[in-house]
């Protein structure tokens, strides 16, 4: 089983984590068209590559943002969601 580095408590087996899908910027709901919003809700960049994803570590209750290569399944970096948001500036 793969190990994922939990920002709170270090490497833990993947079974302790819940996958939260791609972490993507949301368009301004009040400014975008219906079609643009639909693309945001449903469409994904599904090509292989390094993606930013949300993962949740259940036992420690930690949301994290992982940079993962969806071709090799390598986790390049994990950051707590709070820290990732701080790095990004205001998210929503």
């Amino acid at each position: 089983m793969k190990l994922i580095d939990c920002p709170s408590i270090g490497p833990r087996p993947a079974a302790e984590f819940v996958y939260g899908g791609a972490w993507r910027p949301m368009p301004d709901p009040d400014a975008c068209s219906d079609a643009d919003w639909a693309h945001y809700v449903f469409h994904r960049d599904g090509a292989p590559g390094v993606r930013r994803e949300l993962w949740y570590h259940g036992p420690s209750g930690t949301w994290l943002v992982a940079e993962r290569d969806t071709l090799s399944d390598r986790f390049l970096r994990t950051t707590s969601l709070a820290d990732a948001v701080a790095e990004e500036g205001d998210y929503a």
Partner: protein, 970 residues
């Protein structure tokens, strides 16, 4: 004929302990330490199985479970590998896949039909006429399977063990032993595994008769066994390699899940057969098999043998066999014996004829076993010449013409392998981080070189772990090929098997390629080469060589098939492990059980469905009546419970839920509906304000964890100052409801229950039965009712106190079914029953719960799009009192104009109303209809009049002004 030898220096058998067993209905005896195969050979039994397709007699071939010749069944234990199954007293064995027993197998008639059954014949036959195919399929299925399952078998699951180490070394042969010692001596924690019951690897078999090797072996074993840093696990199969150095070890006791920080694969090589006519006859075997039998089991595999050679180990085998008293009639070497080194001279010195550039062209049978061979010289193109063919009588033929790396783990780890002329096999070219190869799997053959290769691999592994050691250089792969490039010989009469498991002859592969399956993967799929129980260990390499030659391509261009787990097949009992089924019970579970509750699953929870012993319908009706007319109590501890604290708690709830929740007044509650980003309903519950910066939330049972996660995520993404605490397990909850509720509850609580002090939808904190409690006045079942949340540890006390206090008022516990019925009478939905994975609030007629005037909430933008696109709506229907026609069931369809127009989502006989009522989700295109046409069981149609909801107490007077209900009840 094979027989038992006098004691051998390294034999594993314990001659003081005899073991009796049965095979094919006859009694035999062997020794402790024997395998089934060695014991049978020692008894002169040389036919151990029948082949898969043609039912040809088969004997010991690899003696190492690299073929499926000797698959047996012992009671419920099926497809036993006789080669590696330790003999046990009382085993009653039979060969698998025979018709009427091994000796008289009637299945052998298939071989007479062989010309009709070329590779892929079944794709071209049996489909016309169509009606007969099931008959043919049944025949094929009966012919094809191997072992016979015992459906009464009660074998227990095996527990699993977790283990950890710095360096895992797979294979305890010379290179693995050297690697393990070098790593351990540098301070690493080492686990060393080998599938054999004893360490030593090839030192026990191919080098078993070599004195110098014996000394090396003794030294290595002594140091290894004494080293405290090495955990040696014999009899453990490293069954696969998974991400992050996760390797399952399969042992007789069960699965060991091992996490390593680095892995050294020193798993050696599989000896590969030559392909010639009759190469599957009992008596023909790999030279390493014969050496195993002699050294480990003191079994003489034959009386007189020919050795088929293409490398130095063939000559060592010849010497070993001579020492064991076997007459070696000749060595036929595919190449030049002068290049094979010292053992050749020793063989010649014994007067054994050594024939250069000579092949075994054919093995001949008598009574279904080897009786002699025909040798032919090879021309310059390595083609056998018919002139001067020689026949030699023999009952044994040992093949030592090449090896294939046991590289399954390397492949699974992602290693790129390339073909190297020296040593004539695939070798690792690019290894993933933390994975290393040593010894023959790395193409290193000379004994001293293998030791050095192991040490070098250890140094690399240590460097990977950050342990500073001087790096040792790899010894290189020598200068000789140890495998012949094409030990494969055509014969007009065939029976030259490439794959013994699948009974595939050379012509089968040629035919498959000629029919267009000339890609290695297609060849495998069409011919099934390598797909048998030994998964190609003895056949894949030769198949690649055949295809490469047919296509005129190199081995690398031809490629190999993907090496999937498992290395050896793994018993289900080991993989499955112990049976752990999480089951959550509320604090009142024991009380429910003692009071006749029938439980049902709700996620991992168990909830009382209803309380017996009355049958369900009667019990549920009585429970409903109790709530409507008196008082009832239900355990709702399974609800999700979340507390939110902090400056932005209200802001978070506004953004997470569709209704505005930040303006709930102190000590009040409000319905809380959650949708996802696409606007689909995912949960509902109650939100209570307990302070300016303090809310208490409930969720549905199954969504508890998901809602908690969502709230946490949103809080972090929006950088809101909120602390969220999951209370689901800490708090238990119960709902007391009915017109007599106050009479039961008031004496037990310090909370003022008067309507003025505690209005509908209010929330109060106080005590119940002396226990700190949160009370919320809710109306889910449509009566005066309080949801009481208390610490789980004291919940049972509160429950019992309420039941005691309620006795004089006729209190009844009620279960999930009664609650479903009660809420249906009120027209309240259950998320997931009256909605599905596509329903929006508009589909559920809950537009009132969507507040578009909030700046943002999860799913708002989607709901704005969907507001006027809703396809469905929920309507109520009620059958006339006394209706006696066919009753709809949940998910029966509503039909309009011959088309599906919706479905019944809930239905039940309402005890309160004396009629059957239900909810249906129907398409809005139907408009305002007076009745629904519902298709019931058997296809009959019935009409159900549409009525407004709530069905019961439409003005909600009972829950709001309980005096109304009490008057009605009085």
């Amino acid at each position: 004929m094979p027989s038992r030898l006098p004691p051998q220096p390294r034999e594993r058998i314990d001659r003081s302990r005899s073991v009796s067993f049965r095979f094919e209905g006859r009694d035999y005896a062997g020794y402790v330490g024997d395998t089934v195969s060695s014991a049978l050979l020692a008894n002169g039994v040389d036919v151990l199985g029948r082949s898969f397709k043609y039912h040809r007699p088969r004997g010991v071939f690899s003696a190492a479970n690299h073929d499926a010749n000797a698959l047996m069944q012992a009671g419920g234990e099926l497809n036993l590998r006789a080669d590696v199954t330790e003999l046990q007293s009382g085993l009653d064995l039979a060969a698998v896949n025979t018709v009427g027993g091994l000796r008289r197998d009637r299945g052998r008639m298939v071989e007479w039909l062989a010309p009709m059954l070329p590779v892929g014949f079944y794709y071209k036959t049996f489909h016309k006429p169509r009606a007969l195919f099931p008959m043919w399929e049944r025949l094929i299925r009966n012919m094809a399977g191997l072992g016979r399952l015992d459906t009464a078998d009660a074998t227990q699951r095996q527990p699993k063990e977790h283990a950890f180490c710095d360096v895992l070394v797979v294979g305890a042969g010379p290179s693995g032993l050297a690697a393990a010692l070098a790593a351990a001596e540098a301070g690493a924690r080492v686990t060393l595994v080998d599938e054999q019951p004893t360490p030593g690897g090839s030192l026990e078999s191919e080098f078993g008769g070599d004195e110098q090797a014996g000394a090396i072996r003794a030294g290595l074993l002594e140091r290894m066994l004494a080293h405290p840093g090495i955990a040696f696990r014999p009899g453990a199969v490293a069954a696969g390699y998974y991400a992050d150095h996760w390797v399952p070890l399969v042992t007789a006791q069960g699965l060991v899940k091992l996490r390593a920080r680095a892995v050294i694969v020193a798993s050696g090589a599989f000896e590969q057969p030559a392909v010639f006519r009759g190469n599957d006859l009992p008596g023909v075997m790999l030279a390493s098999a014969a050496q195993r039998l002699v050294h480990q089991y003191a079994v003489k595999p034959c009386e007189r043998t020919v050795v088929f050679a293409a490398n130095p180990s063939a000559y060592r085998a010849a010497l070993d066999l001579v020492r064991a008293g076997v007459a070696v009639a000749a060595v036929a070497d595919l190449g030049d014996p002068a290049t094979r080194g010292a053992p050749v001279d020793a063989v010649k010195a014994l007067g054994i004829e050594v024939l250069a550039h000579t092949a075994v062209y054919e093995a001949r049978a008598r009574d279904g076993r080897l009786a002699g061979v025909e040798l032919r010289r090879l021309d310059a193109a390595d083609e056998p010449l018919p002139e001067g063919a020689r026949r030699i009588e023999c009952d044994g033929l040992l093949m030592s013409v090449g090896w294939a790396p046991a590289a399954a783990l390397l492949y699974q780890a992602g290693t790129r392998m390339v073909y190297a002329e020296i040593p004539g096999q695939l070798v690792p070219a690019e290894l993933p981080a933390g994975v290393f190869a040593a010894g023959r799997v790395n193409g290193v053959f000379e004994l001293q070189d293998r030791l050095a290769d192991g040490r070098a691999a250890a140094a690399e592994a240590l460097a990977h772990l950050g342990i500073a050691v001087p790096q040792a250089s790899r010894p290189g792969r020598g200068s000789e090929a140890h495998s012949h490039a094409y030990p494969i010989f055509d014969h007009p009469k065939g029976r030259n098997f490439v794959d013994l498991d699948e009974d595939l002859q050379l012509k089968d592969l040629k035919r498959a390629a000629a029919e267009g399956f000339d890609n290695i993967e297609l060849l495998k799929r069409y011919s099934t080469v390598g797909m048998g129980p030994s998964q190609g260990k003895h056949s894949n390499m030769n198949a690649v060589r055949v295809l490469a030659r047919l296509n005129g391509r190199s081995i690398d261009d031809t490629g190999t098939t993907t090496a999937r787990p498992f290395y050896h097949p793994v018993p289900v009992k080991a993989l499955a492990g112990r049976r752990l089924r999480p089951e959550r019970r509320t604090p009142m579970h024991a009380w429910h059980a003692a009071h006749g509750a029938e439980f049902m699953a709700a996620g991992h929870w168990l909830r009382p469905k209803f309380y017996g012993p009355a049958p369900q319908d009667a019990a549920v009706a009585a429970e409903v009546r109790a709530v409507r007319e008196g008082v009832g109590l239900i355990d709702v501890s399974t609800l999700g419970k979340i507390e939110a604290f902090g400056r932005d708690a209200g802001e978070l709830l506004d953004r997470a839920y569709t209704l505005r929740l930040s303006n709930i007044k102190q000590d009040r509650t409000r319905y809380a509906l959650m949708v996802d980003e696409a606007g689909v309903i995912v949960d509902d519950g109650i939100a209570a304000r307990l302070g300016e910066e303090h809310f208490y939330l409930t969720t549905t049972t199954t969504a508890a964890e998901g809602v908690y996660r969502t709230l946490q995520r949103l809080a972090a993404e929006w950088r809101l100052q909120v602390d969220l605490v999951a209370r689901t397990g800490q708090n238990a909850a119960m709902n007391i409801a009915g017109p007599l509720t106050a009479e039961v509850l008031a004496p037990l609580t310090d909370v003022d229950l008067s309507a003025e002090a505690f209005p509908f939808l209010g929330a109060r904190r106080g005590h119940v039965a002396g226990v700190p409690a949160l009370l919320m006045r809710v109306g889910f079942v449509g009566e005066l009712g309080y949801e009481i949340h208390v610490p789980a540890a004291q919940a049972s006390h509160v429950w019992t106190a309420l039941m005691e206090a309620g006795r004089e008022h006729g209190i009844r516990p009620f279960g999930v079914e009664a609650q479903r019925q009660l809420r249906l009478e009120k027209g309240h939905i259950i998320v997931g029953q009256d909605t599905d994975g596509t329903s929006t609030p508009f589909d559920a007629d809950m537009g009132w719960a969507v507040k578009f005037d909030k700046p943002f909430f999860l799913g708002k933008r989607s709901l704005q799009v969907l507001a006027d696109k809703a396809r469905y709506r929920l309507v109520g229907f009620a059958l006339p009192p006394g209706y006696a026609g066919p009753l709809p069931k949940e998910c029966h369809l509503v039909i309009d104009g011959g088309e599906i127009a919706g479905r019944v989502t809930s239905i039940g006989a309402s005890p309160s109303l004396g009629r059957v009522i239900g909810l249906a989700m129907i398409e809005r295109r139907l408009g305002e209809v007076a009745s629904l046409d519902i298709r019931v069981d058997g296809g009959a149609m019935m009409q159900a009049p549409v009525v407004p909801t709530p069905f019961y107490d439409p003005d909600n007077l009972r829950q709001k002004a309980p005096s109304v209900a009490k008057e009605a009840a009085a």
